[in-house]
């Protein structure tokens, strides 16, 4: 027994809310051995993050409470340690990659400093730490790592931040790594590199990895065993192969069935009058060119997927189109009107038509507003959309549509899981009944079953209401199922633009091909084969 690296026994966690205690985790037990990777799969909001936070001793207690259980690391019950003993464990023996990188990085320190601190906090001298920090940033493929060390978190793209988190967690080569959705914001090529890095470290140090993910491909690629959670409880456990090939629990079956990338590809309608014409958009941050002349057209009612390298300027493009940032040059015409020369009053009218779901759901929700207030704010701002009497009803409806419940209306953002927050953000965007929604990694934090539901919802809205989507994603199977056109971006430029079919079946550019081939398949067997061939190629 004691030879397991980590053993969780009978763990239950509950949270206090006004409405009474919420059982987030119910008596779950699992173990993890040295050198092994255990994936926790599960529905969004099923308690994955909470249970791993319990291992890190990061649940706010109160309002949270570990109501039962033991967490043994090498036979030592972590729950019984004094704070000081605990501190020595954190970082050095157990490290964690948080689900939500932006809010988990200290905004006022450079990332270099923050990575170094992980080392110096446990006694590394500062010279070594500096060298190590640089090495780590290189390992997670951050461009220009020397300069990146001196940048602040807000100067990075979503995926880059996530890599900074990873670098920080790996700094001390912990015995146990808890990775909470570590690759959601990474494009597939970078994702592959990061996963390879994890594997490499694992063979080097015998690190145990507890990976929380909803991406079955990632599971197939890296995990040895899986546990599946639903509504706070553990419903299934086994080796990856067993679970994939022969799922026992209905939820697991549903999950595997919902894996995207199997549907019919869209056949876009013939090109008509575009609603959005973007011409030669440029943006620089200091001397760094984030966008180098972006031009494209967007047809009404179509879905344009934007895929590409992490840090290639996708979010920047979205922010500029919504006038959250000013471009250096270029034009964008929405239904013939130049977006960049609108007066504030015109802009206000237009806001209603153009909506966005932000890449970082936690930060984009006002922490002081309830879900109801967050969603209904749209109608306060644009009072003609819905009479007040109907607000409650409509909020409930929207919540159900995105897979939440009306009972969530009175809760605040911090009381939700990452995926749930993302869904609130989607519901908020839908509340305005816009004509264009820019979804910046809007479904990346959702488990495949919920993801499928949300995608279906969006697709339905697209068909019924003619909503146009710009869908920024790195999850190629989802793109394949949902998009009409695909735009591939790399370092600030568009490298390929075409219909889904064209891009997926006859990619013209080498980068696109690299992307497609780096995609992971949910089937562990297929994935094993492709892994082997990849290894061969590199050797």
């Amino acid at each position: 027994m004691a030879d397991h690296l980590l053993e969780v026994r009978d763990l239950s966690v509950e949270f206090h809310t006004v409405a009474g205690p919420v059982q987030a985790v119910r008596r779950i037990s699992y173990y993890l051995d040295r050198g092994e990777t255990l994936a926790i799969l599960g529905e969004s909001g099923s308690g994955k993050s909470v249970s791993s936070a319990a291992i890190m001793n990061l649940i706010d207690m109160p309002p949270g409470r570990i109501s039962s259980g033991q967490i043994l690391l090498d036979g030592v019950d972590l729950l019984k340690l004094s704070p000081n003993e605990r501190r020595a464990f954190n970082g050095r023996r157990i490290a964690m990659i948080f689900q939500d990188p932006l809010s988990h990085l200290n905004p006022v320190y450079t990332v270099g400093w923050q990575i170094r601190e992980a080392l110096t906090a446990h006694g590394t001298d500062s010279v070594t730490a500096a060298a190590e920090a640089l090495r780590l940033l290189k390992r997670v493929a951050i461009p220009e790592p020397e300069r990146a060390l001196d940048k602040y978190p807000h100067e990075f793209s979503g995926g880059q931040r996530q890599r900074v988190m990873i670098a920080m967690a790996l700094a001390l080569r912990p015995d146990l790594l808890i990775a909470d959705e570590p690759t959601t914001a990474l494009d597939v090529t970078v994702q592959a590199e990061v996963l390879a890095l994890l594997k490499e470290l694992q063979t080097e140090t015998g690190m145990g990895v507890l990976i929380i993910t909803h991406d079955l491909g990632v599971v197939a690629e890296i995990a040895d065993r899986v546990v599946v959670m639903e509504k706070g409880a553990l419903v299934e456990a086994g080796t990856v192969r067993e679970v994939y090939k022969n799922p026992q629990h209905p939820y697991t079956r549903k999950l595997i069935a919902a894996a995207p990338g199997k549907g019919k590809m869209h056949e876009p309608a013939p090109r008509a009058e575009p609603v959005l014409c973007v011409r030669d958009l440029r943006k620089t941050y200091g001397s760094f060119q984030a966008l180098k002349g972006i031009s494209f057209d967007l047809m009404p009612g179509e879905t344009l997927a934007v895929v590409g390298e992490s840090g290639s300027g996708k979010s920047t493009l979205a922010r500029i189109l919504l006038r959250l940032d000013e471009p250096d040059s270029g034009t964008a015409h929405w239904k013939g009107r130049d977006l960049f020369s609108l007066s504030p009053a015109e802009l206000y009218k237009l806001r209603r038509d153009l909506q966005m779901v932000f890449q970082d759901p936690t930060q984009s929700l006002n922490p002081r507003m309830t879900v109801y207030q967050l969603i209904s704010e749209a109608w306060i701002i644009h009072p003609d959309i819905l009479p007040k009497a109907k607000w409650r009803e409509r909020v409930a409806e929207l919540l159900v549509q995105v897979g939440l419940g009306p009972e969530h209306m009175g809760r605040y953002p911090h009381q939700f899981s990452g995926g749930q927050r993302q869904r609130i953000a989607i519901a908020r965007a839908l509340a305005l009944q816009p004509q264009l929604i820019i979804c910046d990694e809007a479904v990346s934090a959702l488990d495949v079953s919920v993801q499928a539901q949300v995608i279906a919802l969006l697709d339905k809205l697209r068909k019924e209401m003619g909503i146009t989507f710009i869908f920024i994603a790195h999850d190629l199977p989802v793109v394949r199922d949902f998009a009409d056109h695909v735009m591939v971006m790399q370092s600030g430029s568009i490298v390929e633009f075409g219909t889904v079919r064209q891009v997926f079946e006859t990619p013209r550019e080498s980068y696109t091909r690299a992307l497609l081939s780096a995609g992971l398949d949910p089937d562990p067997d297929i994935q094993a084969v492709s892994r082997a061939s990849r290894l061969q190629r590199t050797h």
Binding site: M56, N57, L58, D60, P83, R87, A88, F89, N90, G91, R92, A95, M96, F98, D100, S103, H104, L105, N106, P107, V108, Y109, Q114, E117, A118, A121, H122, Y152, H154, M165, M168, T362
Partner: protein, 304 residues
């Protein structure tokens, strides 16, 4: 950066000029210095001669023109009562005040940040309650109480410290201690509040996950994020010290600018008032500039 400072300097000079113009005219609406300089029994003729002598009989605009002319040549006029250049009088006093303010505020800032942060770290705990009570009493106790009681206890009864005056290092202890109390009380509370929010941020969890010591979590991770309102309030408190710690200066016979300013205002010694305002305003403008630079230094998101 340089451009920012230059713009700022120009704007500051304009407001400084505005301030002086305002004070010049407004103060002259508040009474006749002749009546105050001369005894009540002085004849109208004497008063008139006094005014003539000091150019107070000219139309206000003429007086103002003359004043501006003098100021541009670096002459801030003479003190009516002291028959000395107003600027000399003010600078002499200002040096004392500056030292008093700088020393006091450094002590206050250090102590208050320490106490406030620790209180926030265990909000609701014993130390928090204790420090709250102490700081709130400090913030609301009349300073002359403390001053007089301190003199009675430490100088008269215990004979440890001189009652008042200047001269040795020990003369500074009581005034600084008395001045310390109120800003300390206020800043502790501001630090505490700001730190409570900062400590509940997600990045604090990251730091804990990294195994960072509580001390660094408080004083490195959270504190810097909590500093914006804190330095603002420190600045405000420093400004009120620079503007004169009147009570303390009065009681301890400290030759600072606060008492000078009060006396000059009450005696309508306009040139001294104007010079004093000019000097303290310059100091305060400069301090605010430093504070604004500190914002940018503390929080990279504010840098433009």
């Amino acid at each position: 950066m340089l451009k920012f400072v230059r713009k700022r300097a120009i704007a500051s000079l304009i407001s400084l000029a505005g301030l002086i113009v305002m004070v010049f005219f407004l103060s002259r609406l508040t009474g006749d210095p002749a009546a105050l300089f001369l005894p009540v029994e002085a004849s109208a003729e004497m008063k008139d001669q006094f005014r003539e002598l000091h150019g107070l009989n000219d139309p206000l605009l003429v007086q103002f023109g003359r004043y501006v002319g003098d100021v541009l040549t670096g002459d801030l006029g003479e003190s009516l009562r002291k028959a000395r250049p107003a600027l000399d009088v003010v600078l002499e006093a200002f040096v004392w005040t500056l030292w008093l303010a700088v020393i006091t505020m450094s002590l206050v800032a250090g102590a208050a940040v320490l106490v406030g942060s620790l209180a926030a770290f265990r909000a609701g705990g014993f130390f928090d309650r204790l420090s709250s009570i102490i700081s709130l009493v400090g913030a609301s106790v009349p300073d002359f109480w403390v001053a007089i009681v301190a003199i009675v206890v430490f100088s008269v009864n215990l004979a440890w410290l001189p009652t008042s005056g200047t001269g040795s290092l020990s003369h500074w202890i009581l005034p600084i201690s008395v001045l310390f109390i109120r800003p300390f009380g206020i800043i502790v509370q501001v630090v505490r509040g700001s730190m409570i929010s900062a400590l509940s941020s997600a990045y604090v969890k990251t730091a804990r996950a990294k195994g960072v010591k509580s001390r660094s979590i408080i004083f490195i991770h959270a504190l810097r994020n909590a500093m914006l309102p804190v330095i603002t309030v420190i600045g405000d408190q420093a400004a009120s010290l620079l503007n004169g710690a009147v009570i303390v200066e009065t009681i301890f016979g400290f030759p600072g600018v606060g008492k000078l300013m009060i006396d000059s205002i009450l005696q309508r010694d306009f040139n001294v008032v104007l010079a004093a305002i000019l000097v303290t305003a310059l100091a305060i403008f400069l301090m605010n500039l430093l504070i604004d630079l500190a914002y940018a230094l503390l929080d990279p998101r504010i840098r433009h």
